[in-house]
């Protein structure tokens, strides 16, 4: 019986961009996960840097609590610049 935990793979496609989730794979350890991620997700030079993270280490917000969880942001429109009224003709603001 093999024991290959799941890893989530994040790839930086080029310098200046952040790592983005690309997919997942199974591997016995982190080093194997990294090598496999290279072979699976960057065969066409899709990346310049790879992160692998054990899927079990990720804590995700729950979709059921989606509304309650994100509610606090819903009534704070004043966080957006469009909320404010600026007199006609005022520039660079």
């Amino acid at each position: 019986m093999s024991r290959e935990p799941l890893w989530e793979v994040f790839i930086r496609s080029r310098r200046g961009l952040s790592h983005v989730h690309a997919g997942s794979l199974h591997a016995a350890d982190a080093e194997m996960a990294l090598r496999n991620a290279r072979d699976v997700y960057t065969r066409r030079q899709e990346g310049v840097s790879i992160w692998v993270v054990p899927a079990s280490a990720i804590l995700a917000s729950s979709p059921e609590e989606k509304d309650a969880f994100f509610d606090p942001a819903a009534d704070k429109v004043y966080r957006h610049p469009t909320f404010y009224e600026i007199p006609e003709g005022v520039e660079h603001l």
């Binding site: 093999s2 997919g23 997942s24 016995a28 350890d29 699976v40 065969r43 066409r44 979709p63 059921e64």
Partner: protein, 351 residues
């Protein structure tokens, strides 16, 4: 062509993201609800579908939707990895180093496609090892197209051009599938597929402009792969019991016949460019319909192949099982090494 279907007793067979059935086998298709009778579906799910939104792994979804996806994605994944065999057969005999490198890259891509798809299936709460087990024990199927043999080098060309071509026509609409992880896997797959079809076309083009014997070889491959390729789209719409539900769920976007027609319309001019003929004398442009007419596909053969009576069913499966068993020591060694490293680290950490 008359086919009567028993919709309650079916073996569902997925072909590169299509989902169809052979009459009279074991009962599956948990989701196939009679048209009109919508089962209870969570409101959040219905709302997502109505707004063309994507369903993500932890969202509420009907059990039938989940099961249909697991079955379809798993069988799609199985098709990708079994599909490595017919072409893998020619890697060591490719006619040049260039062709060999290309073929290896293509076959490796198919392994990758399998991996993306198994990963997508796992987001639905199933285990990859379990899915492989179901493939190996024959409880889940793979695309029937891979039960045909690759007799000549030209078959490698015909597979790339026709089989990957048909797969692309099936897979492109799946990039808009309602289930997010499946759709994302398809985007990645479709990006990689286009070279597969082109390299096949190029092989056939080279052969059809070579010696008479080479041209005959190319024609023979096309003659053998044409009808099985058309069968990849599944039975005619009237005989496709699961299609309506899959369409309602946004898993499937176009009917089998529409996709088949699209493939034929694309392929006929390409065959002309190759200087090869398609083995159907009824193919003719229909001005009124704006499509090519063709002889209806005889599906008796397809269902025989699905039932396990194709030329290579046994060979494909036993090769797959053997490869898996032969690889056991590698998986065990990797696990043992990982354990040793982990033990060493925790020891060092404790010291």
């Amino acid at each position: 062509m008359m086919l009567t279907f028993v919709t309650s007793a079916v073996t569902v067979v997925d072909v590169y993201g299509n989902d169809f059935t052979a009459p009279g086998d074991e009962p599956t298709a948990p989701s196939a609800s009679p048209a009109g009778a919508r089962p209870e579906e969570p409101a959040s799910f219905v709302a997502l579908l109505e707004s063309e939104g994507r369903v993500e792994p932890r969202d509420e979804m009907p059990e039938g939707y989940r099961k249909t996806l697991v079955r379809q994605i798993a069988q799609h994944a199985h098709s990708e990895i079994i599909g490595m065999q017919p072409e893998g057969n020619w890697i060591s005999r490719a006619p040049s180093l260039r062709r060999k490198a290309i073929l290896m890259a293509k076959v490796q891509d198919e392994a990758g496609h399998g991996l993306y798809l198994y990963a997508a299936a796992e987001t639905l709460g199933v285990d990859r090892a379990d899915l492989l087990d179901q493939l190996h024990s024959g409880r889940q199927k793979y695309s029937s197209i891979f039960n045909y043999p690759t007799l000549t080098w030209a078959d490698v060309g015909a597979i790339g051009w026709l089989v990957d071509g048909a797969a692309i026509v099936n897979q492109v609409p799946l990039c808009r599938c309602s289930y997010g992880p499946y759709a994302r896997a398809m985007v990645r797959v479709c990006k990689e597929e286009s070279f597969h079809q082109r390299q096949g076309f190029e092989i056939l083009h080279t052969l059809s402009h070579g010696s008479d014997a080479q041209k005959a070889m190319a024609q023979d491959a096309v003659d053998r792969y044409w009808w099985p390729s058309l069968m990849m789209f599944g039975p005619p719409d009237d005989d496709s019991p699961n299609s309506a539900q899959s369409m309602a769920w946004g898993i499937k976007r176009f009917s089998n016949d529409d996709l088949r027609q699209r493939f034929i319309d694309m392929t006929v001019p390409q065959a002309e460019a190759l200087g090869l003929t398609l083995p159907d004398t009824a193919i003719a442009w229909n001005e009124e319909r704006g499509h090519y007419d063709h002889t209806p596909v005889d599906f008796t053969e397809l269902f025989e192949v699905i039932r396990g009576n194709g030329p290579c069913n046994e060979q494909r499966l036993s090769h797959r099982v053997k490869a898996h068993e032969d690889g056991a020591w590698v998986r065990e060694a990797a696990a043992a090494y990982a354990d040793k490293q982990a033990a060493r680290q925790s020891h060092e950490g404790a010291a």
